[in-house]
Symmetry: C2
Subunit: 336 residues, 2 copies
């Protein structure tokens, strides 16, 4: 909403609501913006950074357009265990599309999925997983793909928590996203996940509009089909937004350097480096460390999904804030 718009709206509302307005404004400034965070060092570091760069009389003040914050998604904003959500989607798609692909019954890794043979699937490794994703994410229009994703998310449930995947997001991070935006930040997602896998739901769940999502993508092709403009998804990788791809994706999509970056794994190392090292203004880096097996999961240096090893070492060197989920988060998932 533009400033002019607010002025006009407010001019109309002033006669009715002057007192209410003053009370609300005052209440807003006093409310804890991060109620699900314990009063430990990470919360203090976040608040100190945000106030430092956003208060106009601060010597470290940074103008609003430059307040860019980037967030990894898997493991940083939502749960990534026992496996990333996108492969779970791909496995379900293989089953749903099997009738149209009789050849899958005899072809790995599809055969393994259809037979529920987890051992054979594991043996297919990352290469097999990529093949499953590529096959189930291509050969259709972008509109059709978004519809399939939305429909799946509406019905699929996480096996442990029995919740929709979009409800397996971290309450403290939702608060952090809102707090940053209320402080004049523009929040972006920069994920190794598929850009079109995220766009159908991130606006509703995180308040991040589709144009502020950076992710991996496959090639699309524009054509007029019977007079209808169509974007068609090809069986071809376009961009992998992970590791050293993240700064490249940030540069391509955002075009300026973020001042704050939030991640949880080695896939976020380069994004955190690009954000925090060598800048001329204050920068903030944060890593979510999964330490709570009871309320969520505990993993780091040896994890198959979301391995945190090099980035944990780099955190100490570069003074990035490390969140100990067990100690620092009062609540992990939102109320049901």
């Amino acid at each position: 909403m533009s400033v002019a718009h607010n002025f006009i709206r407010l001019a109309g509302g002033i006669v009715l609501g002057l007192t209410t307005l003053l009370v609300n404004a005052s209440a807003q400034t006093q409310t804890d913006p991060l109620p699900s965070w314990n009063d430990n060092a990470p919360k203090a570091a976040i608040v100190a950074f945000v106030e430092k760069v956003s208060k106009e009389n601060s010597p470290d003040f940074i103008p609003e357009p430059e307040r860019i914050a980037v967030f990894d998604n898997d493991g940083t904003l939502w749960v990534e265990h026992p496996m990333y959500v996108q492969p779970a989607f791909a496995l379900d798609r293989v089953k749903a599309e099997a009738a149209a692909h009789p050849e899958w019954k005899d072809t790995q890794p599809f055969k393994a999925v259809l037979e529920g043979d987890m051992k054979a699937l594991a043996a297919a490794g990352e290469k097999g997983l990529v093949e499953l994703i590529m096959e189930t994410h291509s050969d259709m229009t972008s509109d059709a793909f978004q519809k399939v994703v939305s429909e799946w998310l509406a019905t699929a449930r996480d096996p442990r928590f029995k919740r929709p995947y979009t409800a397996l997001v971290y309450q403290p991070m939702l608060e952090l996203l809102a707090y940053l935006r209320a402080s004049g930040f523009k929040t972006f997602i920069v994920s190794g996940g598929g850009i079109e896998f995220m766009r159908p739901w991130v606006e509703q769940v995180y308040g991040v509009p589709p144009e502020q999502v950076v992710g991996s993508s496959i090639k699309t092709q524009f054509e007029m089909r019977d007079g209808v403009p169509t974007l068609f998804r090809l069986l071809q990788t376009n961009f992998i937004d992970d590791k050293s791809g993240k700064p490249v994706g940030i540069n391509e999509h955002i075009g300026r350097r973020p001042i704050a970056a939030f991640g949880n794994s080695d896939g976020d190392l380069e994004m955190l480096q690009w954000t925090t090292i060598g800048g001329t203004t204050p920068r903030f880096g944060l890593i979510v460390h999964h330490t709570d097996a009871d309320r969520e999961y505990a993993y780091d240096r040896d994890a198959e999904f979301g391995r945190l090893d090099k980035a944990l070492d780099a955190a100490a060197i570069n003074q990035w804030t490390v969140v100990d989920m067990k100690a620092d988060w009062k609540q992990i998932l939102p109320e049901k």
Copy 2:
């Protein structure tokens, strides 16, 4: 600026400025948002569309987040004759870098540039031009490239108008960009030009932030160089944001379909098709037709830069608004 922020600021300002505020708000709603446009059909069509989608009680109301408008740059927002600005930049860079490239003295098309041999340069054609652009735009960091662009724009002058290129922008389009933003639109540039060639200056000139620029790009590579995170520009095309590339670029960067598109050439045909055909909400397409040789240039179907042929035919079929610059624009360039 967030709504909450405005509330807080206004709460403080109300005591001092209630009367002023009401007067300003009222004046704002009555001022002509497009003073450089003659009161012809194109202006009426623009205003009718904007009011239709942005007034809350309108049956065609479109929520703010979906009010995405896309603008071509060359020939739509700034002058593209006698040649696009970016090749002019490349030619100057060849001269500036010649000392470091002794081999250019004997290699076309560089030789032609250094000798001012326009005939040989023309003979090298588009392929030669692309080679000049690639060579002068790569093998350096992104930061270094942005610096070179900014420095060139500060000193280079257009041969006919003797103005900086950033002053060769169309006043009526500047007003249109501002009018759309004041009406809750997000304005994006979607140009065949280089994304990193535009980003250093479009925010100041058009009010479009770098993250709302889509353009052609070369591949970049992230690496830590002596502990410093670096993005390095490679001699390799990444993406061509022209013709059927424009809907692809829009989908990749914006992730939702625009409701309004503004172009001037066949390079914008597919962007206009993607925006206006087959949508379920009102859409708006507009083509700037260069008809004023006295005040700017007159060209269309046979032009070397900014050819307008197929898109002009498509405008009639699809009821896109065609601006006759000579008849419809009171003023073309901003006051000096």
